[in-house]
Symmetry: C2
Subunit: 167 residues, 2 copies
Amino acid sequence: MVDIVQRSGCPINLTLEMLGDRWSLIVIRDLMFGNRRHFRELLTHSEEGIASNILADRLRRLTESGLLSRRDDPSHKQKGIYSLTEPSIQLVPLLAQMGAWGRRHTRVSEELSIRAELLEEGGPAMWTAFMEELRALHLDAPVPERSVFAELQAAYLAVVAKNAEAG
Amino acid sequence: MVDIVQRSGCPINLTLEMLGDRWSLIVIRDLMFGNRRHFRELLTHSEEGIASNILADRLRRLTESGLLSRRDDPSHKQKGIYSLTEPSIQLVPLLAQMGAWGRRHTRVSEELSIRAELLEEGGPAMWTAFMEELRALHLDAPVPERSVFAELQAAYLAVVAKNAEAG
DNA sequence: ATAACTGATCTTATAATGCAAGTGGTTTTG
DNA sequence: CAAAACCACTTGCATTATAAGATCAGTTAT
């Protein structure tokens, strides 16, 4: 996450050099599945409690390496709006696999894993649709008919509601 | 990689807590695709040059968290043989996706990315076959007909030979 | 007996992380 | 219009992880 040195030309190694740290993929996840678009949203709504200096550092690194882009928010002179780029949008299948593996082999919570479950069941067709939608949200692509984002959000809220009722 | 604390029940976060560091997946990759089974092999054939203390640390952590298992080598009282477990064998699709992303978005070398290319083209059918084979190599499952390992190795050696000839 | 091998540890240095507080500015509120 | 709240970061400092190289004691081959 830190290395400037290129240790080897192996694709797995190079992916790890860009994303293999504790926080980079967390930031991308929140941007992608939570549609958090500026600093404060990423900071305060963070499930994992990222520290502000680490967040600032990761946003800078990820922007430098082309995985995020930043533009000024016209409604607020200090706010920046962070967006995914095509390379980070193409992380959807990787994040889907991470979610699927985590769901099977770690102690996940029901609420936070429903999206991973849906994404796994939906398979590559759903991933492609989601990527199309992300291109509309983050780049300036046309808005597709299907909203995977809405599907995931609805399922998440349904689980939250169910558990609030039960608990 | 280090955390005992569970920061959140999100499957992506939990996967990162187990594997989200610079070296864990490198070790698993070498065990999986290079069939390196003991310490010295992992240490000296490492493309990326892992330090011995880090390797020892990761082997211990990965074994503790159930991603590797270790048994004594009957031929040498000090040697241990490390094996993948079912959870780490199920990382095949994740590593395939990492390879595919890295191949597209980082500066990979031809020799080291041919396996990722084949694994991407082969798709889920190939991943499943490879996992079957890994269960034979690392657990005590029956040996399947198809050897994805041999296919990958042959393709790799062909590229090495081609480039040696050309260069 | 000796040399090479084995998995691992020790030392020392550098770098990343985490937390709390602070900065200079902007927008909202009373 | 002044005070409060908000905003994106930055700073300082302590803790922890990583890195490179030397070293270690037991094991095996010669």
